[in-house]
């Protein structure tokens, strides 16, 4: 395996959890809900996946557990913000803090244990092809799920009737409600989908990326996913590009350091956030484009009055 392949593989591994969490949050925000608790749901998925995988000895059951825990955590958010119409920003932030606390409690017995790693795919012949083999046919299963999610979500949002309805709720929940669309039911499902994705992203961390459990192992990746959604101006394909760009920058700077090229790594760590700010400034220049993509009801609670 040459160095180019090795670097590309490392980038893919670094980008996958960001991509999955961001694509889930994109659907949530398209429905008009702002869930800042991605980090909390992700870390719950990480602990759930690790614990169940080591108890059952099967990483696949761990993946399912990660998704389930992400959904359960998101349901708490959904109940508070949708059924009780609590403030979404405050609830999302508390969800992150809660997730970090509960996950360290749950995982206390499991810190430092060797984990079960979800194996890479291996097709006879295909995986051995130079360059494309390991990249296209030899990665971990969650990588393929992440790519499928991008295309699936893109198709769902822009090519299906249900997707159109979801976007219309995000743009004007009063009109949608007046048309008889069950706004809260749609939003519940969107938030749960976001939770499932965040949980899966967490599971990727504790079952593929670094097969172990340590407290707070998401280390801010949930926040990067949130930034990516804005960076992508709510378009799935741009989330894909953003996640890989971020992965490339963070892996590239490590390689640059190992080669002895002096790069201010602190600056590169801040790059995705700087890029988000720049993109925000740029898109706010073009009011029309901004209005088309930004869900107008983002973060506003909806209370059906009759």
């Amino acid at each position: 395996m040459g160095m180019t392949e090795a670097i590309l593989l490392t980038i893919a591994t670094a980008a996958t959890p960001l991509l999955i969490a961001a694509i889930g949050e994109l659907v949530v925000e398209r429905s008009g809900v702002l869930n800042l608790g991605v980090e909390g749901m992700m870390v719950m998925g990480a602990v759930g996946g690790f614990v169940i995988a080591s108890l059952t000895g099967n990483p696949w059951i761990g993946v399912l557990a990660a998704i389930a825990l992400g959904v359960i955590t998101s349901l708490l958010f959904a109940f508070l913000t949708l059924s009780l119409a609590a403030n979404q920003v405050a609830t999302g932030l508390s969800l992150t803090i809660l997730g970090l606390g509960v996950s360290s409690l749950m995982g206390e017995q499991f810190v430092g244990q060797a984990g079960k790693k979800l194996g890479n795919l291996d097709f006879p012949f295909l995986t051995d092809l130079p360059l494309v083999g390991p990249l296209l046919f030899g990665q971990d299963p969650i990588f393929y799920i992440s790519i499928a999610l991008v295309f699936g979500v893109s198709w769902f949002l822009f090519r299906t009737r249900v997707g159109l309805t979801l976007r219309s709720i995000g743009n004007n929940h009063h009109s949608a409600h007046a048309l008889g669309i069950p706004v809260l039911r749609y939003r519940y499902l969107a938030v749960m989908f976001g939770g499932a994705c965040a949980g899966l992203a967490g599971g990727h961390l504790s079952l593929v990326y670094t097969p172990q459990w340590v407290e707070n192992m998401t280390a801010g990746r949930g926040w990067i996913a949130l930034a990516l959604v804005v960076f992508a101006s709510w378009r799935p394909a741009r989330v894909l590009a953003g996640a890989y760009l971020f992965g490339a920058v963070s892996i590239g700077q490590l390689h640059a350091q190992a080669l002895g090229i002096a790069v201010p790594s602190q600056l590169l760590t801040a790059l995705p956030f700087l890029a988000t700010i720049v993109v925000l400034v740029l898109i706010s220049q073009n009011v029309r484009a901004t209005l088309i993509n930004t869900p107008a009801m983002l973060g506003r609670p909806f209370v059906p009055d009759r």
Binding site: I7, G112, T210, V214, S250, Q257, A258, A262, T269
Partner: protein, 357 residues
């Protein structure tokens, strides 16, 4: 006015009474402030093991409350102050980034004694205690140079502070004592604890051809990556053999227990004084994990070096040593002063990296 005076007198009498009863029977409170979680598998876990040894040694004569996950910086001040108010007689603040906060609280509570780990500031009631981790890293360097086939090791650094720079320099000097051409690649991850980033750094270094990995970050992720890729690595702060049974050559293990017991005894005997302690392998504040996964001759060399450091015969920072740019730092036979080491901000010759400033 009279009422006020009587009231004040009452308060004074009550607090005197409380103080007296505290002296008479209540267990002494020795408090710990941790930067991470006590099960982090590295730095904080080593401190917590020390705390448990302390508790076991004195039994019900002391209480040892602790607070985990205290962020470095201004927020730490509130935590330390709460401890000081709650009747702690001795407070251990166990991370570099608690230094200024410890000094600030100590000034307001002159009767409480403070001990700050790995810093450089002291006062009437603040002691600074530290461990010469670099002694262990010199041994790691020697082992690396003996076992590496490619002659290049990878070093995952956290932050470019003197403690980490000491480690990199000592590792390089150790390696050069065996193989003068030995190369070291350094990657900074700007974090003490980010398993994913540490793993990425490990992969990047291995992809660039290093066949030995060492780290000054706290998670076991680099050890896992090394195991997966079939190269050897060293553990940090705690014995990490569980993460790489076939991979770990040895580890630097922090053992704070004996020091904690001694300092608490000093407070009990009334002999506690502010000081600046910087102990190493000889005093047992630092130990080497068993030498594993290496040939017998390498093991024998490592053990001999360890013995020489313990006896004081070998000091890692002894001349001739040049700075990275080739200028002379230590002349033949000259030993580095502790003051210089504590503020170390340059590399020695042979490190293949530019120190971030």
């Amino acid at each position: 006015m009279k009422k006020l005076l009587i009231g004040l007198a009452g308060v004074a009498a009550m607090s005197l009474g409380m103080a007296a009863s505290a002296l008479a029977e209540d267990p002494m409170k020795v408090c710990f402030v941790y930067v991470g979680s006590k099960t982090d598998g590295g730095w904080t876990q080593a401190h917590d093991i020390g705390r448990q040894e302390l508790q076991a040694h004195f039994g019900d004569k002391i209480e040892t409350p602790f607070i985990e996950n205290v962020a470095e910086g201004p927020q730490a001040e509130g935590v330390i102050e709460r401890f000081a108010r709650s009747g702690c007689e001795l407070i251990f603040t166990t991370s570099f980034g608690f230094m200024d906060q410890t000094m600030a609280v100590a000034e307001r509570f002159p009767d409480v004694k403070f001990e700050h780990a790995t810093g450089y500031k002291t006062s009437e009631n603040v002691t600074s205690y530290n461990s010469r981790f670099y002694e262990g890293r010199y041994i790691l360097g020697q082992i690396a140079a003996k076992t590496s086939e490619k002659g290049v090791a990878g070093y995952i650094g956290s932050f470019p502070i003197p403690e980490v720079v000491q480690g990199i320099n000592a590792f390089t000097l150790g390696a050069q004592s065996v193989n003068p051409d030995f190369k070291l690649k350094v990657v900074w991850v700007n974090s003490w604890f980010d398993a994913g980033k540490e793993a990425d750094a490990a992969k990047a270094l291995i992809d660039q051809g290093v066949d030995i990995l060492t780290q000054h970050t706290d998670s076991t992720a680099p050890m896992q990556v090394a195991a997966e890729r079939g190269i050897k690595a060293f553990g940090q702060a705690s014995d990490m053999i569980a993460a790489g049974p076939e991979t770990q050559l040895t580890a630097i293990v922090d053992t704070w227990g004996a020091y904690y017991i001694k300092r608490v005894q000093d407070v009990m005997d009334g002999t506690w004084e502010s000081q600046s302690t910087w102990d190493g392998l000889a005093e047992g504040i630092l130990e080497m994990a068993p030498y594993t996964n290496m040939p017998d001759d390498v093991k024998a060399m490592a053990e001999a070096t360890e013995a020489a450091i313990v006896s004081g015969e070998l000091k890692p920072f002894t001349g001739p040593v040049n700075k990275q740019d080739g200028s002379v730092w230590l002349a033949e036979g000259e030993e580095a002063e502790d003051g210089v080491l504590l503020g170390l901000n340059f590399y020695v010759e042979g490190v293949d990296d530019q120190l971030p400033q």
